[in-house]
């Protein structure tokens, strides 16, 4: 967007966006669209490029010009440029992407009318320009060739293609008598419009039920129990000095995870006076656990006991006074003191929290029962953290039934017509409620969904759901801000939104999404009735446009929230079940980082994105710890039968260091045999074990070997590592990923240099090039990076990085230009973990350049190691000689099988690489050149910050900084000078331009230091740099 806006007008002149409905609705245009765009795109002979541009220009003209009345003109060839549109210049539009209760404010980049990239909205506080991997990958779903293209009517075993009008006529006839007997099953949404429509439907007699496989119900209930009313906890992690995370994964599985990552990193600056400290109790390693100074692996069901034990330690051990209405029985606390789940260091944690009252923060995860949440709130209140590190935004939870009530209604015969507003419940429903049989009892079943999935096949009517980039709508962010959802493209396949379908049910004259969102916006501003017609109320129009421009309504959220007072009733202590053992394992159901609850199963970017900890792509697995695996006598890749209360499913085993003993993590959303081509064969279906009574964890899981194995595709540790290799890794990693404790750092700021290899002075074989102009470089701060994968997808989206599929990943042929190296160190049961993003480091003395026989990889004057794709013959010698192994080879034509629709997502600024060609990170050279052009147009030099590579742009923790090393004022130069900076493999004298900042841990001195390898490496006091020859540091 930024590039586009430079030419479009004022500094913040993002283009407004709205639908010129009267134009779009014209019969001819529809005809064009149907014939030319949705149908034609997949037929290679159907459309020439020129024709495509014509059509696209028409849709731009119709959708991007605010206030500009465009006459009845259908086709606008670019020979006659539409006003305000520069062909080939990308434009950005703010919109909102919603995943259940999580709301992402994003900016979608549109290139000649097609959205190609999603970034965080820089103006929105909770995204700050960063977007998660999921949000960035959502653009790919728009072009999914397996999306439903037609409204389907299934009757008596036959499937007929029909259209919206026919369906609407049928439905209106059907409900003419009212909504009695109609049940609506909706996934979680934050949309005020949908909430309003659902409330109206309930009033009109329909039964409203919600089913979200991974929801935050218990979290809200916990707030209700503690404070007497539902509220959304607002986190202010930058103010917290001591953080305790009970299975909450605050940096990832939270609606404000992006914001949390940023604020957490901000509080972790080792050069500031204070550096925060994080304690984590969790069963499976999460990115939050990876950032922890102290992590305690504990089964998910025992996390509650750990909270109680901590409470006991605080109250009974440290004398923390319990506030009024705490609901906690002191006597009961005594029972929990010293409970095994808390571990031996609870006293130290309690003292740390006591010493930082008002600056501490405790959080429980959504899998924990409401009582645990309530106790956490009590402790936060008692410690004075409420109002400081956590505040609350009161919310009104809609009064809706749950899925059990829905099934009950069907079983009773109360519901005859069922409207399912997405979510594919036939796959995701709890296994114990007889959902499918109940659904079959409904006379009429209507399903709004993006794919012709299992639920669509179980319903009579399947209405294609519009992608959010095709939709008008709204949403509410975690802090209550009113968010805009606006389309960048006409629905490719005539999709509808949930609000539009509800409007068909409720409104005499069904409204379109634009009207619904406008009416809600009007009502939210206190207006009565429908929103004023366009152009009639300039005041309204102005706010509306500002709303669309920004993507949110400024000031509508609660930035600080309020502090609530405790009104808790008695908080029940967790029940202690039978002890876990190899025959009584815990099944812990978790949302998946890639497919979430299964909804992104057809997203190839996300499927191929390696899990940040397991590095698994294209699959889920039964994750067990090394000791448990030993007791069960299972190995990595063994196919086992999981049996939970008589329900069985086969799954491969993944042995993950740091997994709590006897806890088996099962990620949801795989095994989607009803998915499209991408997701169909990926993983196993953990929903089949998940019951309504035990949605989060369940005891009694048993594992039986089948004797078969299953190939798991990982991007690291492609094969089991032998003893010699494992020992070498433990020996080598401290040199590669350097880290130390805050104590080391403060006493010996240069300790990082001593972690490297000692070697004789480095001399070059050649006369080294002088860099007099710009000298691009990149700093990656390992202290901030938590390994969230956002940069991977950002890079993939920006640079047209191909997806190669599971078999190729298993071979070691993944194409990702940027990878996250994950290293475990120490005891496999309680290891520490560090992430290291590695892309091409643009060596000044690049080994790849010397060996290429055809000079296809060469150096630029600014020090980029440039890859000349059309000169490359593909000897792969460069890749062999690359010590970082960051070069990627196109073993096949990776774009061969892409349909014309799928190609629409490609970034036209970046070459699509041919078969047989090597490729790698370019530092986003296309962005460098754009900035250069922009600077030349303005007759100035490129300024620091003009250029942001895609990875740096989307990094929530701002761990990646790019800039000119020749500019002493640039941020990257400043970081280069810091003592924490080091070169990866610098002793090879290749002079990498990307350098790393060492990770600093802040262990509690009372507890044994976590990172012993961060000590001085046995070189005395670390001051005598000169005596050790040259240390591994080539200061650029």
């Amino acid at each position: 967007m930024m590039q586009g806006s430079a030419q479009q007008g004022p500094a913040h002149g993002r283009n407004y966006w709205r639908s010129l409905q009267d134009l779009a609705d014209s019969e001819e245009f529809r005809h064009q669209l149907e014939n030319e765009f949705p149908g034609g795109v997949d037929a290679p002979s159907g459309m020439t490029r020129r024709r495509f541009l014509q059509i696209m220009s028409a849709s731009i003209a119709m959708t991007s010009l605010a206030g500009c009345r465009w006459p009845e003109e259908k086709i606008v060839p670019f020979a006659k440029r539409p006003e305000g549109v520069s062909p080939g210049t990308p434009m950005g539009f703010a919109t909102t992407f919603e995943v259940g209760p999580t709301v992402h404010s994003v900016v979608a980049t549109s290139y000649d009318g097609r959205p190609i990239k999603i970034d965080g909205n820089p103006d929105f506080r909770l995204s700050g320009g960063a977007a998660t991997a999921t949000a960035q990958a959502s653009v790919l779903d728009l072009y999914d060739p397996d999306r439903s293209r037609h409204l389907l009517n299934r009757q008596g075993g036959s499937t007929a293609t029909t259209d919206w009008e026919t369906f609407a006529a049928w439905l209106q006839e059907r409900i003419a008598a009212g909504l009695d007997g109609v049940a609506i099953l909706s996934p979680a949404t934050t949309s005020p419009s949908v909430h309003g429509l659902l409330a109206r439907a309930a009033t009109a007699g329909a039964g409203i039920h919600m089913w979200e496989p991974v929801c935050r119900r218990q979290e809200f209930e916990g707030v209700v129990r503690a404070f007497g009313r539902p509220a959304a906890a607002q986190l202010h992690l930058d103010k917290a000095r001591v953080l305790v995370d009970f299975d909450a994964n605050l940096l990832q599985d939270h609606p404000t995870a992006v914001h949390n990552s940023r604020t957490f990193a901000a509080g972790r600056n080792p050069d500031a006076d204070q550096m925060n400290r994080l304690y984590v109790w969790e069963n499976s390693y999460t990115i939050t656990g990876g950032m922890a100074d102290h992590r305690f692996p504990v089964a998910s069901r025992d996390v509650g006991a750990a909270v109680w034990a901590l409470a006991a330690e605080l109250v009974l051990g440290e004398g923390l006074p319990l506030p009024m209405n705490s609901g906690v029985d002191r006597g009961e606390l005594g029972h929990w003191r010293g409970h095994a789940a808390g571990g031996e260091h609870l006293g130290a944690v309690a003292r740390d929290l006591m010493a930082n009252r008002g600056h501490g923060f405790l959080a429980a995860g959504i899998r924990q029962p409401a009582a645990v949440h309530a106790l956490v709130h009590v402790l936060n209140s008692a410690l004075g953290n409420v109002g400081q590190t956590v505040t609350f935004r009161p919310v009104d939870l809609p009064a809706v039934g749950d899925i059990a009530g829905f099934i009950d209604g069907l079983d009773r015969g109360a519901y005859r017509t069922v409207v399912i507003l997405g979510g594919n419940p036939v796959k995701t429903h709890p296994a114990d409620l007889g959902f499918n049989a109940a659904l079959d009892r409904a006379e009429h079943r209507i399903y709004l969904g993006s794919h012709d999935d299992a639920t669509a096949k179980a319903c009579h009517w399947h209405v294609p759901q519009a992608h959010y980039l095709e939709s008008w709508g709204d949403a509410t962010s975690w802090d209550g801000t009113h968010m805009a959802v606006q389309p960048l493209i006409q629905p490719l396949y005539g999709g509808k939104t949930a609000a539009e379908l509800l409007s068909l049910l409720l409104d005499e004259t069904p409204r379109g999404g634009w009207q619904i969102a406008r009416d809600t916006f009007h009502a939210r501003r206190g207006g009565q009735g429908p929103a004023p017609a366009e152009g009639t109320d300039s005041g309204f129009e102005k706010t509306w446009r500002r709303f669309l421009h920004a993507g949110f309504l400024d000031g509508s959220g609660a930035e600080r929230g309020i502090a609530l007072a405790l009104t808790a009733g008695r908080i029940a202590a967790p029940a202690e079940g039978k002890a876990l053992s190899a025959t009584n394992l815990e099944a812990s159901f978790a949302q998946d980082q890639s497919v979430h609850d299964g909804r992104f199963a057809d997203n190839a970017w996300l499927q191929e994105m390696p899990d940040f900890m397991t590095k698994l792509a294209w699959d889920n697995a039964a994750i067990v710890g090394p000791a448990t695996a030993g007791e069960l006598d299972v190995k990595h890749g063994d196919l086992v039968t999981l049996n939970l209360a008589g329900r069985t499913v086969e799954a491969p085993v993944y042995v993950l260091p740091g997994q709590a003993k006897y806890s088996v993590t099962l990620h949801l959303g795989y095994g989607r045999d009803d998915a499209g081509r991408v997701g169909r064969k990926a993983g196993f279906d953990a929903y089949r074990l998940r019951t309504f009574t035990h949605l989060d964890t369940a005891d009694g899981l048993t594992v039986t070997k089948t004797g078969r194995t299953y190939e798991l595709a990982t991007t690291q540790d492609h094969h089991a590592i032998d003893a010699a290799g494992a020992a070498e890794i433990q020996d080598r990693v401290p040199r590669l990923v350097r880290e130390g404790t805050i104590g080391d750092y403060r006493s010996h700021p240069e300790f990082v240099d001593h972690l490297g290899l000692h070697h004789p002075p480095l001399e070059s074989l050649w006369k080294e090039r002088e860099y007099t102009g710009h000298k691009w470089g990149m700093a990656i701060d390992l202290n901030s990076c938590n390994g969230c994968n956002a940069c991977l997808i950002g890079c993939q989206s920006e640079n047209n990085v191909p997806v190669v599929g599971k078999d190729e990943v298993a071979l070691g042929r993944e194409m990702s230009w940027l990878r996250l190296d994950r290293y475990f160190l120490g005891d496999p049961e309680e290891p520490t973990v560090t992430q290291q993003p590695v892309g091409c480091v643009q060596c000044e003395l690049a080994p790849c350049e010397q060996v290429c026989p055809v000079a296809a990889t060469v150096h630029t004057e600014e020090g980029l190691n440039a890859m000349v794709y059309n000169r490359c013959v593909g000897t792969r010698y460069c890749s062999n000689n690359c010590p970082y192994k960051v070069r990627r080879f196109n073993w096949f034509n990776n774009f061969e099988d892409l349909s014309a629709t799928q190609r629409l997502v490609l970034n036209p600024d970046v070459t699509v690489r041919a078969r047989g060609v090597m490729e790698k990170c370019t530092y986003c050279v296309q962005r460098i050149e754009k900035a250069r052009v922009a600077a030349r147009v303005e007759d100035r030099d490129i300024r620091d910050g003009d250029i942001t590579p895609a990875c740096a742009q989307t990094c929530p923790t701002e761990a990646i900084v790019f800039g000119d090393l020749n500019d002493p004022e640039s941020r990257v130069s400043g970081l280069r000078e810091q003592s924490r900076s080091f070169d990866l493999l610098g002793y090879l004298n290749i002079k990498p331009r990307t350098f790393y900042m060492a990770r600093i841990r802040n262990p509690n001195p009372e507890i044994a230091p976590v990172a012993e390898h961060g000590e001085d490496d046995g070189h005395g006091n670390g001051k005598e740099t000169g005596d050790h020859g040259q240390v591994e540091q080539a200061h650029g």
Partner: protein, 486 residues
């Protein structure tokens, strides 16, 4: 007297009173000519030849099918991956180039060193060199990603003035192997001209006369011809001699100049050359033993020849073994942890099976040649040759793959398995090699008649006194004005 002395075909027993005969049996120039040229001209092609040819031609077909499939789909049909970007194709390339070394060594170096025993086997070895280089040349060409622009590796003038990168060892390879192939071919052909003329003169079919006539380029055996021939041969021998050392040195630069631990080693050039000679002689022996058996050439390719080859195998095999030991010593002595690990990983890592195959075949096997009985027993030595061939292929595999699969960053460690296409391409290259060998045996003189004649007792003016010590090429008896003297 040892029992071996009773065997008229065993000339490996030293009798200090007289030099060993290089050629056995009661042969004169004519019988030699008849025995060798009749294989080509007169004798009915054995049925076994047809059977063998059918098999090898079929395998050659497999080779070209695999190459076609590769060209259509891309290099991904092989098992290569990110850390291991070079696999069997490069292993096969180095393997075949190495085999090609025996020919030049025998032709050029032993010629300059006046090792007369070479005359019986040099034609065969040279032919094998050419065919091995042909097989070798296929692999670097087809292993590139974009085969349709592979000619960019050559310094062809173009309007963009875009030259190859002269710093790249792959480019040096192009020159080294190209030069080697050219010189070897010229050397082989030049040496064959007198024999081709013999075939021309003895041929009775019109086609044979025409074809051998063209190939003989007007050789009439005049003194002037002989004079120029001798000069040309000597010059080519002089040119080829440094190539024996240079080609495999340059091939080793592909690895030695790269910085991967296990590749970046200064020992590679001599180590590779020794290994090449080692493998080349093993391959010559592998082919020669059946050939002398089936075509009745035991009088010309005697046990003494084979024993001499075995001694060279013993010498070069020991050099190779020493190089392995040196690599380990330097890996430890250098104090470079990456280098040390590369070698620990070779011996004990996931590819240790390949390493121990290599060591068993290349270090242990040749040491058995210290025993004379082993050195002079044909079936045993043939089995040794097979071991050496296997071992030397694995040496290249170990160097190429085990170094790549675990380099600097443990995150990028991987494992490489060949695919069916990898395997069939390699098997197919043997098909091509043996097809060419069979064609050579069938259509060209496999023993250098003209040269062997010079070392026959009868060639010695003082025949009877100093048998078998005739001056090489220097004193051709004027028995006939044409041919090699038939």
């Amino acid at each position: 007297m040892s029992p071996a002395a009773h065997d008229p075909l065993n000339n490996t027993v030293d009798d200090p009173t007289r030099p060993n005969a290089l050629i056995l049996g009661d042969n004169d120039f004519t019988s030699l000519t008849v025995k060798v040229s009749d294989i080509v001209l007169e004798r009915k092609t054995p049925r076994a030849w047809y059977v063998a040819f059918t098999v090898t031609a079929g395998l050659t077909g497999v080779l070209f099918l695999m190459i076609g499939y590769l060209f259509i789909k891309g290099v991904g049909v092989w098992g290569l991956n990110n850390p291991v970007s070079w696999g069997w194709a490069i292993v096969n390339f180095v393997f075949w180039v190495g085999i090609g070394h025996a020919g030049t060594l025998i032709s050029a170096i032993l010629f300059l060193l006046r090792q007369k025993w070479r005359t019986s086997i040099n034609r065969f070895a040279e032919a094998m060199t050419i065919f091995a280089v042909i097989c070798a040349g296929i692999f670097p060409a087809i292993h590139v990603g974009r085969i349709w622009v592979v000619y960019w590796l050559f310094p062809l003038p173009n309007y963009q003035a875009m030259w190859p990168n002269f710093r790249s060892p792959l480019l040096w390879d192009v020159f080294a192997v190209g030069t080697y192939a050219t010189v070897s071919l010229l050397f082989w052909y030049t040496g064959m001209v007198p024999d081709l003329a013999t075939l021309r003169d003895r041929a009775r079919g019109r086609m044979q006369q025409i074809i051998y006539g063209i190939l003989a380029v007007g050789w009439r055996g005049s003194h002037r011809h002989w004079h120029r021939y001798e000069k040309a041969y000597l010059i080519l021998a002089g040119l080829a001699t440094p190539l024996v050392l240079s080609v495999h040195s340059v091939v080793s630069f592909d690895f030695a100049t790269a910085q991967i631990p296990g590749w970046h080693t200064t020992i590679f050039p001599p180590y590779f050359v020794a290994g090449a000679v080692f493998s080349g002689f093993a391959m010559v022996g592998t082919l020669l033993i059946p050939a002398r058996q089936w075509f009745g050439l035991k009088e010309f390719i005697t046990l003494h020849h084979l024993e001499n080859m075995n001694k060279i195998i013993l010498a070069t095999g020991s050099m190779v073994g020493f190089a392995y030991a040196t690599e380990f010593f330097i890996a430890w002595y250098s104090g470079n942890p990456n280098e040390s690990f590369a070698f620990v990983n070779r011996a004990f890592g996931p590819y240790s099976w390949a390493y121990w195959i290599m060591v068993s075949c290349n270090v242990i096997t040749p040491q058995l040649f210290w025993i004379k009985k082993v050195r002079t027993t044909v079936p045993v030595m043939w089995a040794m040759y097979i071991f050496v061939n296997i071992g030397m292929w694995f040496e290249r595999f170990v160097i190429t793959v085990t170094s790549l699969h675990r380099d600097f960053l443990p995150s990028s460690w991987g494992y490489y398995d060949p695919t069916v296409v990898d395997i069939l391409t390699f098997v197919g290259s043997f098909g091509l090699f043996f097809t060419l060998v069979l064609l050579f045996i069938r259509f060209l003189p496999m023993v250098a008649m003209a040269e062997v004649k010079t070392v026959m007792p009868i060639a010695d003016a003082h025949s009877g006194e100093r048998r078998a010590v005739g001056d090489y090429h220097g004193d051709i008896p004027a028995a006939s004005p044409e041919g090699g003297g038939a």
